[in-house]
Symmetry: C2
């Protein structure tokens, strides 16, 4: 079955296993499913679509019970008492979004029951049922009880009103503001379906580098139209609030958060929005960071700013997500330390409906960073984690990199803040410190490309983000398998091979871009390709040389107690471990230490040789990936097979570019030859330095 | 059959008429079609795709002749002598691109033969065969001999290197420069298929407001990849040449076309391009117009500039398309006159491989303009016509406006330059003055929207342009029918109803935007919506008030002999007719005349009432369109039915906006009430003047 990727993991391809097909067909012989609400209606529509595709037959959804029912989809209050009694215990803890899919013996025969406390739970249960069938799972003895471990499962779109997308590599913004509100693009609906199928329940439509215009009546009407499309799918709409909006569109002279007129303006603006969108989610704010205005412009604090906005939306049940991605121009020591320094002292001072949004690492979405030290360090403040799905620093939409592996590494990292086992996941899901709100944000990798994400495998990063936001304890390998089955094929050889490829792909990109704890070495502005030599930007901490600090003595950023002392932002166990190169995990070695070129690595190689070999390893891994993919031809339709093949060839070329450019540059300092096994660069350092990409996307 | 519009008019929907289906199946029982060239290969692929879709069966293409053949697709030299002898006369005049589709009785039975002198002809013949089947035509006695009447049938993409499209309303540029040359998007192939199916044989990839970077080696590699994709479909690639490129990317200090270094630079640049793209088409140039550099910057003429570039590409068979769209800042009289004034004196001075590209009318793609007076006025110079498919001035991609009706009006206009019957079509196809090159350019309305053109009916404008470029004498009504059958349905009631709707749609937009010869009344910059009041732009001839000249005495631009005397750029017969309001066709009345508000129209109404009633008529026509479309529901899939319905609702709203804003504005001068039958405006003039659209697309 050819595919252009538009259907994502909701392909509903025909079940090929004939025995299983027959079983499924029997199980769908008589379905009870009564509609009546917009959520149930979209669930029914999805079920019909899925069954038509997978079983090759239309199904009738009966609106009344019958003894013949083989499948019952109904909220708890509509179940017959025998069935609901048997599920009572599960239902009690299910909350507003959970669901049960269970095979129950009643009246002497098995019935599959999909139930929940709410219509939203029914919708999620329906999507899960269809997904299990796409994975060709046996439903005969099914017993699934699921509810999300995190409240806010949110995509952040860095979409501008002119439809460009900051750091977008999959075309342009889905939101056609020109044709809204009158024209509802089918993509809006399919976007909502895809999100609901993995439990995403919120979307921030606009860029954190915000434009106040989206808060004007004309745009609120357009946002309302989108909110109306997304509502049946359980997806709330959020907007980014430009802090200076009261000046720019409100006619005020200040945006001081303590000024009564400013407070009143935001209150009125919130009321105006909620009148049109009663379930509006709230605001996401980037303040006093990278040129964005904020409370500090008026001598006020993040607390003042966030609480003022929180008070404006609080009467309507709205929230404020306040970003911790800040780093001051004036701080001379270490950018990695600043968010912690600025925010941790405020612990406990934010309103109940404020949540602080913290990037996964302390710098900026690098191929690998240690977890952000704020996680676990603010016991009285809700923190949500922000991951980046769009591959700003990981090869745009051209490199196959499976990000859930990266996310999992961060989520499973131990903060030690309440002793061993205090993982980031437990900070995020609120279980470590009992948080009032919990959340996970993913900076979307979605655009107008027909396959949504540019690279067919980048769809897995959207999918995997949703799955981990639902349950941050999931194994990224299991997620890969689910996705592969639904998206490509259930053939075991394909799934087992490609699952490993996806898992390995993340380490490959680390190796060919920034091995051994190196970071922030990309070229200026567009972040496309290597630029370790860049040293001419106006702020010190925008320059790659600030981060790798390569010189004749060695390489790496000294963040030990005798350096910037960033290590002491971590719990004592970790601070101690990170303070000593011998106990620092080698993947973070040059993140925490400046070490001589002849420093001996665990494998006995010198640091110089080790770096060079890691770069080569990354390139080789891409080579292996290409070979493996070549063998997958029998399992994949020609269109996507060719697409991925072409993209892998580009990835290999660019991996070599990273290797050659970085090694030639560092060789100037190490003054040592490339070790055996490392290919000789095809071009000179000057050539690599001369490359310019004025129209690279996403900038 | 649901459709997202991606398949355009190449849907190949199953033939529903069972008798016809059986006949077709018999006719495709035994097909001789030998491949062997890239053009034949894509023709075979298309045939298989079409037959699978329409007849529900795969076909085998036999590479050797058999007596059983029911269909023979082969170039003339591969036909058996009996058949080729019977076609000898037709083949002689067929040229390089023509084809024959003919039912021939041979060996006592009928065989359908598709033949041509070239593989390109076979490809065109194959597409035509499939189109005839999509129209459900009987092939039993088919006898078609076709060849294009125009040499260059070219799309102009106003696409920038950052993928924005100037005046693009269907998303962004198809050309993903970032991923080229390594990644070939399937859209490039489908774009080529669509173009080849209607005979388009050239594409200018880049904006006429040009960027020299596209001429650098890195971009030439990317252009080469596109040329390689398009070649099998008979489509040549062209680029826009920024006149100052020798300075910007060549390191020269001048771009003076008479400077030997400049000449040498363009020669070397052309050689470099042709080495990679041996069939590169040549350059399109916008020079000394709207801020673009050109020969006049160096005191040289258009002839100097065009001939210099022509000499550079001439050794490789390339051409130069030099745009006549010029209007000087300094000319105080009438913008409409300037292109003629600047170019006509140069007649006969251009190189043989230069063709002058002239917009259809003397201003700029307005809903209605008289034909451009240059047509017929340069007997010794090839002129190609430039139409705009993208609806810059006709409602963006939100309004249903069938443009081939507009194109036909221009093509059938009589220039009288060689006596009665000297139509623009005859100027364009070279028959009036025996031109060396002939051409038609269409500014593309294509973008990354899934349905390519934003509005499902805007696909018809692309289709119709191709058809008219192939044969400028075609009836726009016939073209509409072909398109409707292939794109939507063969149901007669649907085709007959919608054909009339499409034909009427063009007059509707004239009526609700710029009736009775009014023109250039759009808002500034983005050209979205009405702005008749705009009078503050730096150049007089950028302001709507320059064009309508409404005052207390009347309205309209006096272009008579006592006015700007633009009438005298037309042949004497027309000059005389246009000089008198009584003999001027009323659709051009205010184009040529400034008339008092109480001037009496042919229908007896005063001019003021007539204008107001025309605006109302336009709005009413959209209302009728909505009602008619509502009745088409049984014939159209739900997806496209709803899309068009939503867009029509927007069109109605915007038609009313145009009516109300323009009438309220002009009413200030006429000081007269709206006549009976004209709806009262819902908003004030100040409201309409206050509207701002900073992120309107295409700007």
């Amino acid at each position: 079955m050819a595919s252009n990727g538009y259907d994502l993991w909701l392909r509903y391809a025909p079940v090929e296993d004939q025995t299983l097909l027959t079983t499924y067909q029997e199980q769908f012989q008589s379905v009870y499913f009564k509609g009546g609400s917009s959520k149930l209606d979209v669930a029914q529509k999805e079920l019909k679509r899925g069954i038509t595709g997978m079983l090759g037959q239309n199904i009738v959804l009966n609106p009344s019970f019958s003894d013949k029912n083989t499948l019952i989809i109904a909220s708890a209050k509509n179940l017959n008492t025998a069935i609901s009694a048997s599920l009572e215990k599960d239902l009690k803890d299910l909350g507003e979004e959970g669901f049960i899919i269970k095979s129950i013996n009643t009246n002497g025969k098995n019935v599959i029951v999909v139930t929940a406390n709410t219509d939203q739970g029914i919708l999620y249960g329906t999507f899960k049922l269809l997904m299990l069938m796409q994975e060709n799972r046996d439903l005969s003895a099914i017993n699934r009880v699921e509810k999300p471990k995190i409240d806010l499962r949110i995509l952040n779109h860095w979409d501008n009103l002119d439809r460009t997308v900051e750091r977008g590599y999959a075309g342009f913004s889905l939101w056609n503001w020109q044709k809204l509100p009158g024209f509802i693009d089918q993509r809006y609906i399919d976007y909502a379906r895809a999100n609901a199928s993995i439990g995403i329940n919120g979307t921030v439509l606009t860029n954190v580098n915000a434009n106040a215009l989206v808060l004007t009546p004309r745009y609120i009407d357009k946002v309302t139209a989108l909110a109306d499309v997304f509502r049946p799918y359980g997806i709330k709409v959020y907007l980014t609030a430009r802090f200076s909006a009261p000046i720019e569109i409100g006619g005020l002279e200040t945006a001081d958060p303590l000024d009564p007129k400013v407070k009143q303006w935001w209150k009125a603006k919130s009321d105006e929005i909620y009148q049109k969108i009663p379930d509006f989610g709230g605001f996401l704010v980037k303040a006093n960071s990278e040129g964005q205005p904020g409370p500090q412009n008026y001598g006020r604090s993040h607390v003042d700013g966030a609480n003022m906005l929180a008070d404006a939306v609080s009467p309507h049940g709205g929230i404020v997500m306040w970003r911790a991605f800040v780093y001051s121009e004036d701080d001379a020591t270490d950018r990695a330390k600043q968010a912690y320094s600025e925010f941790v002292p405020f612990d406990g001072q934010f309103r109940d409906n404020v949540i602080i949004q913290v990037k996964n690492g302390p710098i900026d979405f690098q191929p690998r960073e240690p977890f952000h030290p704020m996680f676990g360090a603010m016991p009285k403040t809700p923190l949500m984690i922000e991951f980046q799905l769009t591959q700003e620093y990981l090869g745009f939409s051209t490199h196959l990199v499976y990000l859930p592996k990266l996310f999992e590494e961060v989520l499973q990292a131990d903060t030690y803040q309440e002793g061993k086992g205090s993982t980031v996941a437990k900070v995020i899901d609120g279980s470590l410190h009992d948080k009032k709100i919990t959340g996970m944000a993913g900076v979307a990798n979605i655009g107008t490309d027909i396959n949504w994400t540019g690279h067919p495998f980048a769809e897995a990063n959207w999918y995997g983000f949703g799955r981990l936001a639902w349950d941050p304890e999931l194994d990224s390998r299991d997620i890969a398998k689910e996705w592969l089955r639904a998206t490509f094929s259930n053939k075991e050889e394909f799934v087992n091979t490609m699952e490993q490829v996806m898992i390995d792909s993340r380490e490959a990109v680390v190796n060919y871009m920034t091995p051994l704890g190196l970071h922030h070495m990309m070229d200026t502005g567009h972040h496309y390709g290597p630029g370790p030599w860049v040293d001419n930007l106006s702020r010190a901490d925008w320059n790659p040389v600030y981060y790798h600090k390569a010189d004749s003595l060695g390489i790496g950023f000294d963040r030990t107690k005798s350096g910037s002392d960033a290590v002491d932002q971590y719990a004592p166990e970790l601070a101690k471990r990170f303070n000593d190169p011998k106990t620092t995990p080698e993947e973070f070695l040059l993140w925490f230490h400046h070490l001589p070129w002849d420093y001996k690595l665990k494998n006995g190689e010198s640091l110089w040789n080790g770096i060079a070999l890691k770069y080569q390893e990354g390139v080789d891994e891409v080579g292996t990936l290409i070979k493996t993919w070549g063998k997958m031809k029998p399992y994949v339709d020609a269109a996507r097979f060719n697409e991925v093949s072409m993209l892998l060839d580009i990835q290999l070329k660019e991996a070599k570019w990273w290797r050659d450019a970085c090694l030639l540059y560092f060789q100037q300092f190490s003054q040592q030859p490339l070790p055996a096994g490392v290919e000789k660069p095809a071009e000179t350092l000057d050539y690599f330095k001369s490359l310019r990409f004025p129209y690279a996307p996403g900038n």
